[in-house]
Symmetry: C2
Subunit: 228 residues, 2 copies
Amino acid sequence: MNLQETLAGIPLFKGLTGEQYDELAMIVVDQEFGRGRTIFSEGDDGVGFYVLISGLVKIYKLSPEGKEQILHVFGPGEPFAEAAVFAGSSYPAHALALQPSRVFFFPRPAFRDLIKANPSLAMNMMASLSLRLKRFAHMIEDLSLKEVPGRLAAHLLDLSSSQGEAEQVQLQIAKAHLASLLGTIPETLSRILTRMSKQGLIAVDGQNIRLLDRDQLEDLAAGESRLG
Amino acid sequence: MNLQETLAGIPLFKGLTGEQYDELAMIVVDQEFGRGRTIFSEGDDGVGFYVLISGLVKIYKLSPEGKEQILHVFGPGEPFAEAAVFAGSSYPAHALALQPSRVFFFPRPAFRDLIKANPSLAMNMMASLSLRLKRFAHMIEDLSLKEVPGRLAAHLLDLSSSQGEAEQVQLQIAKAHLASLLGTIPETLSRILTRMSKQGLIAVDGQNIRLLDRDQLEDLAAGESRLG
DNA sequence: CGCTGCGTTGAGCTTCTTCAACGATCGTGG
DNA sequence: CCACGATCGTTGAAGAAGCTCAACGCAGCG
């Protein structure tokens, strides 16, 4: 697959003309990061943004005591650090490859020129930023208004819908990472998984989880009920 | 002040040409909302976005049990609900006027046409969305990695810097609203304000708060220390 | 006057975290 | 091939932070 074809497969760049893909191809930098490698750190100069081509990347914040809050885990096709291109000048969080990852890097000045000249690219970018905003709003809501079992249930149902409404979902990330994504710690997550299993809501087998009682999971996710 | 002048005073629209202000003026709808009036509700059809001209507006989520989490309190000059223009089709949260407010409403289709034809407007919009994204990321970090005293300290220092580094800051909103903005409840906020006063960090007089020990407030805000 | 919105304080309880120990798995180098 | 360390997960006991419930105070205003 050549560069232009790869670019055309990225949702952010959908609907562009062949010429526009050529322009993108001219400024893109193809990079690889091994598992556990840092892509950028909070406070680093925001020199451009990325699109993940393959692999898995986490975006996270750290507290002074070392506790981590994952803001997002990105899979193939997703852009990250776009905000750094348009606001402020430094990355507001850390980015690290959870799996060996291939990313396309777009340098800030060249990309700004491109987007200024391409309204449909700008519209795509605004849609992407807006979607991200919605997800963050959802995350704030979850952290503040739901307890951990509710957040977990919501996450499992999200996974199910993104994995084709299957009864069995795949976490994709280690449980320790899931804990950080849900705003808690591994111990607490482990206890809650055990509790939900005992109550017949789910069945856990490593990173595979079967959703046995969707109705009750949905009640939990809505914050309408407690886990006895 | 005529319409074009008012538009020119809005940061989102800065740097546009006179002709562009005329175009904006043609699609804008001038609206007023009394104190306590709902501007839109979560799930409503996202028919456009708003810029607050005067007054005070809160954007918030509600849990099924009625607990509220304020995502943002907007003052004059700030746009809100922009995300609804570019992603999804419904508002993802509620908006309510905390004070009598005047807003400019921009209908979605007309504004999309406008922004597609005006690259500098698009760049401004992307900057605005990106800034919002940063603030949300910060809020997630606070909710997850800091305790309530830390969030309060961070908020007070934010207020101080936006109010000209004054020793005395003005909350602008009721303490019950501040509690919701910080992801807690009025009782807890009240207790913490009392505690911080007794320890000489601040002095509270209604909505006026004097910052007596900036160093220690900054430690708290960074999450590096606890409130004895 | 009495209502309503707003704030404070106390007692008890739930949830979550901390600290500590332990078990399983896996890849690597001796 | 086994041993070792590293990563990851689980479980228990104790403690802290924050929430719920309830009562009360106080100011503004119809």
